[in-house]
């Protein structure tokens, strides 16, 4: 396993995941191996090639602007870990 050049803790913070020291060390080496393989792509001549975001050539599909039923609030909230007054409850975000 290679030594990591990726700042795993920084990237984990961007992804909003806490990692243990053991995970930081383990993932660092594994990601280094994976990135080394990925470097292979630098061999490919991509001059003038358009990117494919997905496999079908579809864009801006629209449907008729007609209201259709969707889940009632109860359906959306039935799995919420914390809720009050038909809304999701989270820790305080802004101080008064």
């Amino acid at each position: 396993m290679a030594e990591s050049h990726i700042d795993v803790r920084y990237v984990a913070n961007l992804a909003r995941i806490n990692l243990s020291d053991e995970e930081v060390a383990r993932f660092g080496g594994q990601l280094e191996d994976i990135m080394k393989h990925i470097e292979k792509l630098s061999e490919v001549n991509i001059e003038g090639i358009a990117p494919s975001a997905h496999a079908n050539d579809l864009s801006n599909r629209v449907r008729a602007d007609i209201p259709v039923p969707s889940l009632p609030p109860k359906g959306f909230l039935q799995n919420a870990p914390d809720q009050a007054n038909n809304q999701l409850r989270v820790p305080k975000v802004v101080d008064a």
Binding site: N18, L19, Q30, V44, I46, A50, V90
Partner: protein, 469 residues
């Protein structure tokens, strides 16, 4: 043969002739699971009472009337858990709605039955990444069933249920089908709505069937295919009858063997099996030609940028606010996110989210993600050019038969490299099917047949010829 062990088409005949009832089938499925699934571990949950109630009301005049179908546990079925085999969702999530694929199954008369195990959030090729339980390969205990739809493949292979749905982002239907000895179909991107399938790689994911026979695969595709206003990537192209013409054989078909798929790294016995199958198809009137898919060697690198990038974005919804795991008494909003995600996700999921976040992060986007999207264009072109010359492509599904459990733990890259034969079809959006060949040293092995976009009829017809021998 028990009812749970039968094909959908044979059950259908017995049901319509009045020999058996839908209740008989569901009762047998429940009995098989309770007596044998303890050793296999295919199902994460099932609700026998609800299925029996549905069987009582089954409309046998419908194409799948009264037939129970296992469902991979990343597809929402109203009123059932949907764990994605993750601790994040275990015991804390009940689906408030049906995925479109489930709505369509129900409309065709089928009974969604139970939720099957998978690699957590479908990330993996062995089902060993399940955060909840281990699944054995029914054909070879001690070996992996493949993955990520390992629970669905094992459930069908162990004859616990006649058929099941899986999802395929990089081979997750075809590879477990090959390892367990069943038929697994990944339809073309957009053929089946993804609404209600928990998103992993949105530009790659497709739902598809795992079955005993090619005919059953076609029967399920008939029910599942079609456009859906709730999935703007689904295709409105007409849905043909996929069972029609299944037995018309391969005479006049042109079948390609891509030279890059038979290079170093492929088990020689698998190569022999495929070559002898190709010879047999040739003797039945097919023309076999060598073709080239020159960008094959870049597929794994391309995929392991695009799939984790999409996953890192898709899995941001698991934040401890709307559903699933929530850490106790978080200090602030940030701690709510970071601690809930740390405790809820397993190693492979964390690794892929971090990889995806890294390749999308400022300063690296062009070098990795954008470059990968361009190479993806070249991989698509390879297939477009190949399908101008041939009707379908014959390849291995995996470099070896089902490995022993634990054989690649600690080395994720080794796992990723084994996806080489299946991921290109997801990158290009093509359809592909794995159909069982003669086992090798007692272990099942499949042949992959790749078809052009919306070429399902061609690959089903070819797979049927292989199945018929």
């Amino acid at each position: 043969m028990s009812l749970a062990a039968s094909s959908l088409s044979s059950l259908r005949r017995q049901l319509t002739s009045g020999k058996i009832s839908a209740r008989d089938i569901v009762e047998d499925v429940i009995a098989q699971i309770s007596s044998r699934d303890g050793d296999i571990g295919a199902f994460l949950s099932h609700n026998g009472e609800a299925a029996l109630a549905a069987a009582e009301k089954a409309d046998l005049s419908l194409p799948l009337g009264g037939l129970p179908i296992g469902i991979k546990d990343n597809i929402n079925v109203e009123g059932h858990p949907c764990t994605c085999a993750s601790k994040f969702l275990k015991d804390s999530y009940t689906s408030p709605y049906d995925a479109t694929a489930i709505t369509k199954l129900k409309a065709a008369g089928a009974i969604p039955f139970g939720k099957t195990n998978l690699d957590e959030f479908a990330m993996g090729s062995s089902t060993e990444n399940s955060g909840l339980q281990t699944t054995q390969n029914p054909a070879a205990p001690g070996h992996i069933p493949g993955g990520s739809s390992g629970g669905s493949a094992a459930a069908v292979a162990a004859r616990l249920i006649p058929a099941a749905l899986g999802s395929d982002t990089g081979g997750s239907i075809r590879q477990p089908a090959s390892h367990c000895g069943v038929v697994g179909l990944k339809p073309s991107y957009g053929r089946i709505s993804r609404y209600g399938l928990v998103a992993f790689g949105s530009s790659l994911d497709q739902i598809g069937p795992l079955t005993h026979t090619v005919e059953d695969s076609a029967l399920l595709l008939n029910a599942l295919a079609g456009g859906d206003p709730r999935d703007s990537t689904s295709l409105n192209d007409p849905v043909p009858d996929y069972t029609e013409g299944l037995d018309s054989g391969v005479s006049g078909m042109k079948l390609g063997l891509p030279k890059e798929y038979f290079a170093d790294g492929l088990c020689p016995k698998i190569r022999e099996r495929i070559e002898s199958t190709a010879k047999k198809l040739e003797s039945q009137g097919a023309e076999i030609v060598e073709i080239s898919l020159p960008h094959t060697e870049y597929a794994v690198a391309t995929y392991y940028i695009i799939a984790p990038a999409e996953a890192s974005s898709n899995l941001s919804r698991f934040d401890g606010v709307r559903y699933g795991n929530r850490t106790e008494n978080p200090e602030d909003m940030l701690a709510l996110y970071t601690d809930s995600r740390e405790a809820g996700f397993g190693s492979e999921v964390k690794r892929r989210i971090i990889l995806g976040t890294y390749v999308l992060s400022s300063g690296y986007y062009d070098a990795y993600y954008l470059r990968a999207q361009k190479v993806r264009t070249l991989i698509r072109r390879d297939f477009q050019e190949a399908f101008e010359k041939v009707d379908a492509i014959l390849t291995p599904v995996a470099p070896e038969t089902a490995p022993k459990m634990g054989s690649a733990s600690g080395d994720p890259l080794k796992h990723y490299l084994a996806d080489i034969y299946t991921i290109s079809a997801n990158l290009a959006g093509n359809c592909g099917i794995s159909v069982p060949l003669e086992p090798i040293d007692g272990l099942p092995v499949g042949l992959q047949i790749l078809g052009p976009h919306l070429g399902e009829k061609k690959i089903l017809r070819c797979a049927r010829a292989v199945e018929a021998g």
